[in-house]
């Protein structure tokens, strides 16, 4: 089903990913509010964006997902206008966006650390953009009111910013941005500073907000769960490159390479070999699968821990010994050691350590991927090249 991932993903790959599920039939480009083509950006010798190409559809919730230093924030800052790419083009409704200064762009940003103006109260923070547009006072008042209602903070108009909790500051930052009715809202890890419970609540609220506003959200996060929960489309990035573009289901179920598989959820990634269509060999056995042959025989096989069933060892080809078990709330996480590999298994039925069990998985739960730089047996070489920490401290402004 998947061909091996080319070094530079292109629009085509996104179309393939989206089109496959049939969610996006339209490919005339008219519904693409933003298109980025071949964006490159370096800080000194460090390449932070390497040939980034993707588009953003109107009214979608798109998430740039990746570990720190993958280039996701830089991409967002290019969209906001705080950074210029070294090469490549960005269009907004088919017009060149790169020549537009940040203050004229029809996008607004929710900053990671809120960036509220400490010298203004809540009301004036939210009204900031509207006042610059020289709107009549009555309209400003009603829109501020509306925005506060939207973020559920009515009655906080005259509070000072430093009297707010983290969650409240976050809501004000969102209100300050959406009150300007941007066509695209950029959110840079907006929930990063909140505690887990608050984060969960805000995820749902943000998604609802996006739907009720009917505008495009571009969301940056390193939290894969957050991305899966909220997004229409996820762009997985690593080391300045796009690894995969797709819907949350796509990305989870059909990870394109070992990095994506490993980053999105927990997975067993093991080396395999494919000599013919719909059959893959690993752990010393042959398994039926749903993927046709690849160019290379060597492949990576991904099996999600919840897709593995623990069965009686009798008559099963793949057998192992339960080496550990941990209760995780809803399920148990067990490690089952076979001769070649230690499988992680999620199951609601506990099995005592030391028990010999059989492992079973259905053909469609075996995901076969082409070898990549991120394959387990090559993983060392990439971490050598890793240059994760790109400091935004030296921001020129």
């Amino acid at each position: 089903m998947f061909n091996s991932l080319k070094k530079s993903p292109s629009i085509k790959s996104q179309d393939a990913a989206n089109g496959k599920k049939g969610q996006l039939a339209d490919s005339t480009g008219s519904s693409h509010i933003i298109e980025l083509i071949d964006i490159c950006k370096s800080y000194g010798d460090t390449k932070v964006l390497d040939d980034i190409t993707f588009y953003i559809r109107n009214n979608e919730f798109i998430t740039l997902l990746g570990p720190s230093g993958c280039g996701k924030t830089t991409t967002l800052r290019i969209l906001a206008g705080f950074e210029q790419p070294d090469s490549g083009s960005v269009t907004f409704e088919d017009n060149d966006l790169l020549v537009v200064p940040p203050y004229l762009r029809k996008v607004n940003t929710v900053f990671q650390r809120y960036a509220l103006f400490p010298h203004l109260d809540v009301k004036d923070n939210i009204a900031f953009g509207l006042k610059l547009q020289k709107l009549p006072a009555s309209e400003i008042a009603s829109r501020v009111d509306q925005a506060l209602k939207m973020v559920d903070l009515k009655g906080y108009e005259n509070r000072w910013v430093d009297q707010l909790s983290g969650g409240q500051m976050q809501r004000i930052a969102i209100a300050r941005a959406i009150v300007n009715k941007p066509q695209v809202l950029l959110l840079d890890e907006p929930l990063g500073a909140l505690d887990l419970k608050m984060r969960k609540e805000m995820q749902i609220e943000l998604k609802q907000m996006q739907q009720s506003l009917g505008i495009t959200f571009v969301y940056v996060t390193h939290d894969q769960e957050e991305a899966l929960t909220m997004s229409d489309t996820i762009i997985v990035m690593k080391q300045g490159r796009i690894q995969q573009i797709g819907t949350p289901t796509d990305i989870y179920n059909e990870p394109r390479n070992a990095f994506v598989a490993d980053f999105i959820g927990e997975s067993n990634i093991l080396p395999g070999r494919m000599t013919q269509d719909f059959e893959v060999d690993f752990c010393g056995h042959s398994f039926v699968c749903v993927d046709p042959r690849f160019e290379q025989e060597e492949v990576d096989v991904v099996i999600r821990p919840e897709d593995i069933q623990i069965v009686s060892s009798e008559g099963k080809a793949l057998r192992g010994v339960v080496s550990s078990i941990v209760f995780k709330g809803v399920h148990y996480e067990m490690n089952v050691d076979t001769d070649n590999f230690s499988f992680m298994v999620h199951s609601t039925d506990p099995v005592d350590p030391g028990t010999t069990v059989g492992l079973h998985f259905d053909p469609d739960e075996i995901h076969v991927m082409a070898k990549s730089d991120f394959s387990p047996d090559r993983i060392l070489t990439i971490s050598d090249h890793e240059n994760d920490e790109i400091s935004h401290e030296e921001v020129t402004w």
Partner: protein
């Protein structure tokens, strides 16, 4: 016993520090020319002081120089800090190092070096040279007052302002300026105070034609006993004292606000 010893020691130290100043102020109200014998209370010396045209003109020079040098050096410092922000760290470090030079080198050397500069370029010493000298020694202090505010500044708020539709200069006025305002006010008061208070550098750069209060006190003190000096010194002491207390309360308040914020969070 031990506590008594400690308190006694501190009392002696403080007596040592403040006795001369207190004596000076008391004797500025002394109705006798002696600096040792109390001859009753009078305000004569203050009255004479305000009729002394030399002193009045020195007062005018002192105030004008202090005001101008405070305004100019604070303005330059604010602009400079803004520029330093977007500079590479290493270059900024070099500039800050050079900025510290007037602070670490002796006043005497700063004074004569500026005097040599004016002499070398053929500038006759007078009001302009005095003003330039005061700006020169004030700028480092102004920068030191303002640059911490820039360090505390959330750099994203400038971008947030642009994002919400501010042009760059609007963003500076609407967002950056209010944030660094406390630093600017501190810089203004501090440089004003330092300018009034300066003697050594003024001495070398004022020339013969004009005189500041400090220079006037110096030349009077060398000549003869004159209780007007006591009166003038007392006035200057009190003025500088008040200004310093304001600076201290201000910087104290700044840090309190922050503490209060943290406290309010819970």
């Amino acid at each position: 016993m031990k506590k008594l010893l400690k308190n006694g020691y501190m009392f002696l130290i403080f007596a040592f520090l403040y006795a001369p100043v207190v004596v000076l102020i008391i004797f500025s109200f002394n109705d006798a020319k002696s600096r040792a014998v109390w001859g009753g209370f009078t305000l004569d010396w203050y009255r004479k002081l305000f009729q002394n045209s030399d002193i009045l003109s020195a007062l005018r020079v002192t105030l004008i120089i202090a005001l101008l040098s405070a305004l100019i050096s604070t303005f330059v410092a604010a602009i400079t800090c803004l520029g330093l922000q977007s500079m590479k760290r290493r270059l900024r470090g070099v500039i800050m190092q050079v900025t510290y030079i007037p602070n670490v080198s002796p006043d005497l050397v700063t004074g004569i070096s500026l005097m040599l500069l004016f002499f070398f370029i053929g500038l006759k010493t007078g009001f302009p040279t005095l003003l330039m000298a005061h700006i020169a020694f004030n700028i480092p202090y102004a920068i030191l007052s303002i640059s911490p505010k820039f360090k505390q500044l959330d750099k994203n708020i400038y971008e947030a302002a642009l994002d919400l539709g501010c042009k760059p200069h609007q963003a500076i006025i609407k967002v950056i300026l209010p944030e660094i305002m406390p630093g600017i006010v501190t810089a203004l008061i501090l440089t004003f105070t330092l300018s009034i208070d300066d003697f050594v550098i003024s001495y070398f750069t004022a020339g013969n034609q004009i005189s500041t209060l400090a220079i006037t006190i110096y030349s009077m003190a060398r000549k003869s006993v004159n209780p007007q000096i006591n009166a003038l010194s007392a006035l200057m002491f009190v003025t500088v004292l008040i200004l310093l207390i304001i600076v201290n309360i201000r910087s104290g308040k700044d840090s309190k606000v922050k503490v209060g914020t943290r406290g309010g969070d819970k």
